[in-house]
């Protein structure tokens, strides 16, 4: 792993952390509940992309399982919250 690759992977990680910070800002700011659900979904996807960059940084393929788990829970969480906003309860 040359220094160029190491530096660019850390730069990619920094960009993703900035993306997560902006999504968290929208989570705090969002004037309505659907804005907050959207921000949480963006946070989940950015976190999953950060897991993939960590897989590249540490050269281990164990991080793919963690990324898949984050994607799964993000999907289920966003669907549950959207259903709650639509109907007032999750399972009717």
């Amino acid at each position: 792993m040359s220094p160029f690759l190491v530096w660019s992977l850390w730069a990619a990680l920094l960009l993703l952390v900035l993306a997560m910070a902006f999504a968290a800002l929208r989570l705090l700011k969002g004037p309505s509940a659907q804005d907050r659900v959207l921000a949480l979904d963006c946070l989940y996807v950015s976190g999953m992309l950060a897991m993939l960059v960590l897989a590249l940084t540490y050269g281990s393929s164990m991080y793919f399982e963690a990324a898949l788990l984050i994607a799964l829970f993000g999907f289920v969480g966003s669907m549950t919250m959207a259903k709650f906003l639509l109907r007032g309860e999750v399972i009717e």
């Binding site: 730069a11 990619a12 993703l16 800002l25 309505s32 992309l49 994607a71 999907f75």
Partner: protein, 111 residues
Amino acid sequence: MPLWAEILTAVLALAGSLLALIGAVGLLRLPTFFQRVHAPTLGSTLGCWCLVLATIVYFSVKENSLSVHAVLIGIFIALTAPITTIFLLRAALFRERRAGNPKVPPNITRS
């Protein structure tokens, strides 16, 4: 690790992260909710696939055999992100119409 593989991985990883960042900036800065919905889709489509390609290139060159482990993640996101977005849009449309917001996108069903 040969130089072409390192440069390709670095460029793809940076491109994916940059797209995710642009999507998050759009999420923060756009004025209405129905405009904000479009922004994170940048990161979850092109950003995700750029990073998946980066991992494919890196792990295939490192282990000298094609490793498409991360394609599962890309396919999962590609299948579920539209479902989440459309469902959230429906919930938001219902709530905005209920609240009497005048600037809601018009109804397109034949009624």
